[in-house]
């Protein structure tokens, strides 16, 4: 079977999940929802099919499982959001279409993605500017004490979502060029392998940038996400675990320092350590998130059965159910099994992403694929970890599942880049078969 036929087959479970999910929610709450909203399910599937055909034409060799897995996540998210509010689900479906549009455009214009290397400093600059934007007067917006949003007239978006791609592109390019010097120039001081001072600069800049985010954007989650992606790339590029340890130590020290000086960050850490100190105040969200999971048990309460608001009022029982705590809602309604299934999908995406990196030929492709996959996986970890109290709860979105335009659109660009790398890698891997003609045969990797 060709890659694309496999993709088509893999889309079948997506269609099933979506249909089953929408039907279940609709059956539960038919008094509240009008059946027009069911059309959105069909609309979603049609768009998936169109994307599949586009991939068939443009990237015939690209990894066949990444898109269906992402579509599965989106369907998962769409069903959950539909269950919270049909209006929000329509918005989300529109964002999905816009995301796919940007996905197609990325594939169209960045077929030769090496061009990104040439503009790496520009891209890094854009990335940092995007990060800074929420603090710029006039357009910045504060959400729950963190500066994550930008408002341009009617449009508001979270620039960090786009910034992460820019930063990964820059790091992949920079590390591709300097990895050898970083390895060769390393010296051992007091038994610890240190990178050469000359090349340490840019790395300190990245550390500084994440500390800066902690202070100015006040978001521990994105800061952690950026820095972890950086360390992952540094490790893959140099193979020096000691660099990771040094980086971790620096981040910990910085985070500890700022956590005790920046009030917002401090609060988040305090709440994480002892949510029962203020069960109706700052601890409310994390406690309710955990209570919602406890309510789910093994199999969950079923689609549309969980309580999101306190009956008889508009008070939230599970605050930010469509964004931050959507994972808790999933565990509440689908149980531990539902939560495991979701985490498994992220793990499969990570597996396919790293596979793309393994197959890629050149250093830049390898590092880019690694970086994009790592930042994606870490983002999922940061928010699920926040909701399950592994780490402090922060306002990072659950990629492709949480409600939010920026997240969907940016992550589709990320997916487009991964598929571009994959298409080239797999084309080259199958090309040596001289008699293979135009057919890309599977199984030869």
């Amino acid at each position: 079977m060709t890659a694309r036929n496999r993709e088509l087959v893999a889309l079948v479970p997506v269609a099933l999940l979506l249909t089953a999910g929408f039907t279940a929610v609709f059956a539960q709450e038919s008094d509240r929802l009008d059946n027009l909203s069911l059309i959105y399910g069909a609309y979603f599937l049609a768009v998936c099919l169109a994307t599949h055909i586009y991939l068939r034409l443009r990237l015939p060799n690209a990894d066949p499982y990444l898109f269906p897995l992402v579509a599965l996540l989106t369907a998962f998210g769409l069903v959950m959001i539909y269950r919270i509010d049909a209006e929000l689900a329509r918005d989300q479906a529109n964002w999905f279409v816009l995301g796919l549009l940007l996905f197609a455009l990325t594939i169209h214009f960045l077929r030769d993605y090496d061009v990104l290397e040439r503009y790496r400093y520009t891209i890094a600059g854009i990335g940092l500017l995007l990060l800074l934007a929420p603090r710029l007067p006039g357009i910045g917006a504060q959400v729950n004490g963190a500066y994550l949003g930008v408002e341009l007239g009617p449009i508001s978006f979270q620039p960090a979502e786009f910034s992460k791609i820019c930063i990964v592109v820059f790091l992949a390019s920079y590390l591709r060029e300097h990895r050898e010097v970083l390895i060769v120039g390393a010296r051992r001081v007091l038994g610890v392998t240190l990178p050469p001072l000359k090349h340490l600069g840019p790395l300190l800049v990245v550390w500084g940038a994440s500390m800066f985010m902690l202070v100015f954007i006040r978001d521990l989650g994105s800061s952690l996400m950026f820095f972890a992606a950086f360390l992952a790339l540094l490790y893959v590029a140099t193979g020096r675990f000691s660099f990771v340890v040094i980086g971790m130590t620096m981040f910990m020290l910085g985070a500890w320092f700022f956590a005790s000086t920046v009030p917002h960050v401090h609060d988040r850490v305090e709440v994480w350590l002892d949510p029962y100190a203020s069960p109706l105040g700052s601890g409310y969200q994390i406690l309710q998130s955990i209570f919602a999971q406890a309510d789910g048990g093994l199999f969950g309460k079923g689609f549309g059965q969980a309580l999101i608001t306190i009956p008889g009022t508009d008070d939230a029982l599970l605050p930010a159910a469509q964004t931050d705590t959507i994972y808790a809602l999933i565990v509440n309604e689908l149980g531990l099994f539902g939560g495991c299934a979701l985490v498994a999908i992220y793990l499969l995406i990570a597996a396919r992403g790293f596979k793309v990196a393994l197959l890629a030929d050149d250093g830049f492709s390898k590092l880019l694929a690694t970086g994009l996959t790592a930042v994606f996986a870490i983002q999922a970890f940061v928010i699920v970890g926040g909701v399950t109290r592994v780490i402090p709860l922060t306002g990072v979105t659950l990629p492709f599942v949480s409600y939010g335009g920026s997240s969907i659109v940016a992550n589709f660009v990320l997916l487009a880049l991964l598929l571009l790398i994959s298409d080239r890698a797999r084309r080259e891997a199958t090309a040596p078969a001289p008699l293979g003609g135009g057919l890309a045969l599977e199984g030869g990797r």
Binding site: F291, A294, L298, F354, A374
Partner: protein, 483 residues
Amino acid sequence: MNRQIVKLFTFVVVLFGVLIGFTSYWSVFEADALKEEDANKRPLLEQQRIQRGRILADDGTVIARSIPKGSGDNRRYVRRYPESVLFGHPIGYSFVKEGDSEFEQFHNDELVGEESEFTSLLDELRGQQQEGNDVVTNLDPEAQRVALSALEAAGFGAVAAIEPSSGRVRVMASNPPFDPNRIPTEQNELNANTFETPLLNRATQGRYPPGSTFKVVTAAAALDSGAIDLDSTIDAPATIDVQGQPLANSDGASYGPITLETALTNSVNTWFAQLGEEVGSDTLFEYLDRFGFGSEPAIDLPDDQVEPSGVEEEGELLGRGDAVDVARVAIGQERLLVTPLQMAEVAAAVANGGTLMKPQIWSRVVDPDGRVTESLDPSSYSQPIAEETAATLTTAMEDVVNEGTGTNAAISGVPVAGKTGTAETPFNESCVGAGDNQAWFIGFAPADDPEIAIAATVECTNSFGGELAAPIFREVAESILDD
């Protein structure tokens, strides 16, 4: 770089494993503890959304039902008790804020339709919402009404009536009663009323000295252990000396050598005190255990709302080997404290040929589709005495009603077996200003084919058991036998 990529992936697998670990911890392993947290209002809010099943009397009378309030997502259910005070005990109440008690608490799982995770998963797949089951009780509303109004006329006290052959509880009344409908507004006042203690189910939580009704237990132990038979005689003077203190007959009469039948009929203290000493405390305690004294009754009420009966010392129940004045225990004095339920069980065991059945209030569980999903399978608690012992004892107890202290319990045309009791409770502080007798009657009818065994007691009275408690027995027994 590939080696590092594989290692990085391994690291991601570990990270995600941690997520699964934490999710399992919260959603499964720690779930029950989290549901108990005060900050967690979910269980309460969820319970409100389920239509709790009804509680019905034996004849279908609705004792408790839930009515909807609000609509859509705001729909919740509130408990109503149409019979008001009649079944306050033993049914109790169930409200989201105020909590639950007695039968409502014990049978909560059936009433809310709690099922195993697998069954509820199947229900979800079929799109069914959790629904409560109805629970049908053995309670007889007419007899319950008779018992409660008789008590209200006589004073604070309790009545427990059990079907001897099955252990089905037909009546459980406690005076003063309470109206469960008033719990949401008056729970604090009812709790604060430590004089009347209306929330106390006196039938299972009231602990009183049993007086002469306990002679049935002493006689049972003596007959069954072979210490005496129907022909054995003991000399019963007006007064004997027990452990340096005089012990007298209540009528002051001297009876001479008499048999069990005469002694029970006239409730002769000196006769039973000597019998107790002959039987010995070890044997007596053994029979107490067999009748269920010393442990919580096996009834379907919450553990913290039933009290065990027995000889009590500083809050602890005494047993074999403990030093007691066995002569006074034998006549129901000493530090003996019993619940009306326990005394009804004694009567029921004698009535049922010596086999004590587990007392049960519930009869069957009916699902929302009207199917009976569970029904009571009567089971025995113990066999305290042999069948012949029970028959002999029944004969003696019939004499009590026919010609002795219990004539007020007689029902025309129906043979009745019973025993009166009047314990003096001069130290009972709650009796200040009232009489300090505890009036008792235990018995069963018809004596030749028992359908009902009853214990009735009234606290803080000037009357005797035969005057005050025996008529209550008769009224309740007549009401049940009329059906």
